[in-house]
Amino acid sequence: MTSLSNGITREKILSINDSLRINNLHKRELNFKFVIIGDFGVGKTSIIGRYTEGQFSTSYKITIGADFALKTLEWDEDTRVNLHLWDIAGHERFGSLTGVFYRHAVAAAIVFDLTRPETYSSVEKWLIDLRRKVHLPGGLPIPVVILANKGDVTVTTLPSQIEDFCKANNILSWFITSAKNNLNIDEAMIRLTNAAIQNHHNLQFPLITDDIISLTDASENNEKMKKCC
């Protein structure tokens, strides 16, 4: 299996797509679940809000009742990508995430806060939790980026070992981001989406979705649902 960080070009994706698409008349939809994790207050909800709503607000409340936000990307002429961005519910903050939260995630962003360097030391804990609880269908680790957020306030606190940490732990890339100034959030998400699409082609996941039932009215009467991949 090729390494995940081995950059794949847009053209390559398109040509793979082309061969797969020959008999496919409809626009293909890919549903990808991304999880956004990290310590309390580092800006996870703000990043998701910025990316999906195009807005930054300093007054985000704990988003009661919100599970995930949707972002649709018209990836190319024939592919639409629906990103399901899962926020750890505001209060799930003692590192007690359920397997249900991670289930079917195909990429992750681990966020820390440049104005509170101690949040960087939690990145490894989040990574361990993530690696323990979720894999791609074939057992490979899911692609991960690290976001050093609140880059609008300061960047001098950036830990010097971040590059080595990424290399040592199979992290795709890291970005200095700002939800406030909309810095690098698109870039980070596109990086993850690229990796997810590449894995999707290599692994042909989902592997075991046939006959899986979602308890929605639509799946009654013997119709089958394909789940988020």
Binding site: N31, D67, A89, G99, G138, L140, N182, I213, S214, N221
Partner: protein, 566 residues
């Protein structure tokens, strides 16, 4: 991650079993401030699912958490502290057995057993290649290398497609966290062999073991039961068995209906047997070929789905916590001790195994016998992988045994293996309770055999605390939740959770539907407008030109439907 816990809640819940998790979701859902806490680092308690590695370590884990030595300093006047946990409602009689060698001869100098590692980058070769699992015979090492592909339930459950849980999952919108597979066949043990139980009309007619006359009889009976009323009055004090015999059914038909379809015994009252049969019939044809659903990745997912909903509605979850006691005064429960920290709440809900021993020591105990096997093939092989419910009728003084066989498509075991769960009311010890079933259906010896080879077996007993009056010995703001029950489904747990919820919060709606993501507006509209900054979008366009605005509002979250059932 290491924030200090808040110190004031409406409700504290200790333990993450089924009833506790439902209550957690229900209380958070109506805006109560819930702390859901446990000493365990995993969700589910006695309802958890584990990988192969973890189950061997975790199955008996329930230490008693004693108050710290300086407890006197932490108490105010009139208060006293009790420990959390007791050794009366633990999992008991645990035994593991490997029936295969540790490694093959050729492997001896090769790789040693690799358990789940903390290594962040690598996974074993075997895991990377899902198709490379069937060629060689399994060894302890190769099974353990696949540890993460196992999700082994302590308490395996099925759900009736029209049972209370499925309705609750749908109506509360918790269904979005879980996926199911339909049980694809129901088997029974009849006249010394396995038989497929005809479930639906087409099954009845396809079954060549049932004569044409029997087919008519069975259809007539099943049809008449759906709206049986008057006739049943005469059977108020009689058994379902008696009712079926009076219907002049043949012995085979009585067997199918009594043991398999209605999951009854010879003693089951008629009314109950009829209710069960109706539930079975009503649940047919909603999703898949039988009335039953199994939760993908194991039954432990269901407790987690409720916990996730609770967290989404503000419930605070804290696992792996150093719980150190409960503080009471005359008025009842006051505070939970976590290390040296006091956390107060109006009410406390606990799994029975978390209760101080003094509240539960007078209870008589009943046990459920459990066995889990990893096997190399199905009890009844076929081309397509089946998810099987086998109802093994009472035999020679043995209790009936429920057998659930799961293949790799359920996400609970690697390709080329099956997980078999055995469940029965305990009468002696788990091993003895299942001996006859093992003898008839499995072999523990490797080599050529028509029967599935048991590669690994695990036996244990789970306390059944469902018949007990758990309000009896506790202060009035303390609620104990019973542990696992013998029923196939979760309806008993839902009933228990509803009952406790109604006592806690009378006249309040129990788990109303949760909104879908597109129905939620993030942030506070008014303030958001003032402080919103939308500049800085342009640079992103250089990376991918066709990135289009979020068209979320037109897009449904639900996955689209592809294909049709074969």
């Amino acid at each position: 991650m290491d924030n200090q816990l808040p110190t004031d809640f409406d409700l504290i819940i200790v333990g993450t079993g089924m009833v506790e998790s439902i209550l957690s979701a229900a209380a958070s859902r109506i805006g109560k401030r819930v702390l859901h806490i446990d000493r365990n680092e995993y969700y589910g308690g006695q309802w958890a699912s584990f990988n192969l590695d973890a189950i061997q370590q975790r199955v008996r884990e329930n230490p008693i958490c004693h108050p710290p030595e300086n407890i006197a300093e932490l108490l105010q006047q009139g208060e006293h502290a009790l420990p959390i946990g007791n050794d009366l409602f633990n999992i008991e009689n645990v035994s593991f057995n490997w029936h295969i060698p540790e490694q093959t001869q050729t492997d001896v100098q090769g790789i040693s057993a690799e358990s789940e590692t903390q290594n962040l980058t690598e996974t074993s070769d075997k895991e990377n290649d899902p198709d490379d699992v069937t060629a060689e015979p399994w060894t302890k090492n190769t099974l353990l290398q696949n540890t993460r592909k196992f999700n082994i339930d302590l308490t395996p459950k099925l759900q009736y497609a029209r049972g209370d849980l499925v309705e609750l999952l749908i109506s509360s919108n918790i269904a979005r966290y879980s996926e199911y597979r339909s049980v694809s066949r129901v088997l029974t043990w009849l006249n010394g062999q396995l038989e497929v139980v005809p479930c639906s009309r087409s099954d009845v007619f396809a079954n060549n073991k049932v004569s044409v006359i029997e087919k008519r009889m069975l259809m007539k009976l099943l049809t008449s039961l759906t709206d049986a009323g008057e006739e049943l009055k005469d059977y108020e004090n009689k058994t379902f068995h008696a009712f079926l015999k009076d219907k002049k059914l043949t012995p085979n038909l009585v067997h199918y209906v009594l043991y398999a379809i209605s999951m009854s015994t010879d003693q089951t009252p008629c009314i109950e047997g009829v209710e069960n049969t109706k539930m079975f019939l009503n649940s047919l044809g909603r999703f898949g070929k039988t009335p039953f659903l199994f939760s993908m990745y194991g039954s432990g997912e269901i407790t987690q789905a409720f916990c996730r909903l609770s967290a989404v509605f503000g419930g605070i979850f804290a696992l792996s916590q150093p719980l150190s006691g409960l503080i009471f005064d005359e008025g009842g429960f006051k505070s939970l001790l976590v290390g040296q920290q006091r956390i107060k709440a109006d009410h406390i809900v606990m799994g029975i195994e978390k209760s101080p021993g003094t509240f539960v020591e007078t209870f008589t105990k009943d046990y459920i016998s459990r066995a889990v096997f990893i096997t190399d093939k199905s009890v009844m092989e076929s081309e397509k992988e089946h998810l099987t419910l086998l109802v093994y009728p009472p035999e020679k003084g043995k209790n009936p045994v429920t057998v659930i066989e799961l293949g790799s498509l359920t996400g609970t075991c690697p390709k080329g293996t099956f997980i078999v769960h055995l469940i029965s009311r305990q009468s002696t010890m788990p091993q003895q309770d299942f001996q006859h079933v093992v003898q008839n259906l499995f072999t523990e010896e490797s080599g050529d055999s028509t029967k599935p080879h048991v590669l690994y077996s695990l036996y244990f007993s789970i306390p059944d605390s469902n018949g007990l009056d758990l309000r009896k010995n506790v202060p009035k703001n303390v609620y104990l939740c019973p542990g696992p029950d013998l029923d196939l489904d979760y309806d008993v747990s839902i009933k228990q959770a509803k009952q406790i919820f109604n006592e806690l919060y009378p006249e309040t709606e129990f788990l109303p539907r949760a909104p879908d993501p597109e129905e939620i507006v993030i942030g506070d509209e008014d303030e958001a407008n003032e402080e919103t900054t939308t500049e800085g979008k342009a640079d992103s366009d250089t990376v991918i030109d066709e990135l289009v605005r979020n068209i979320q509002s037109q897009n449904k979250v639900d996955d689209s439907v592809h294909g049709e059932d074969a």
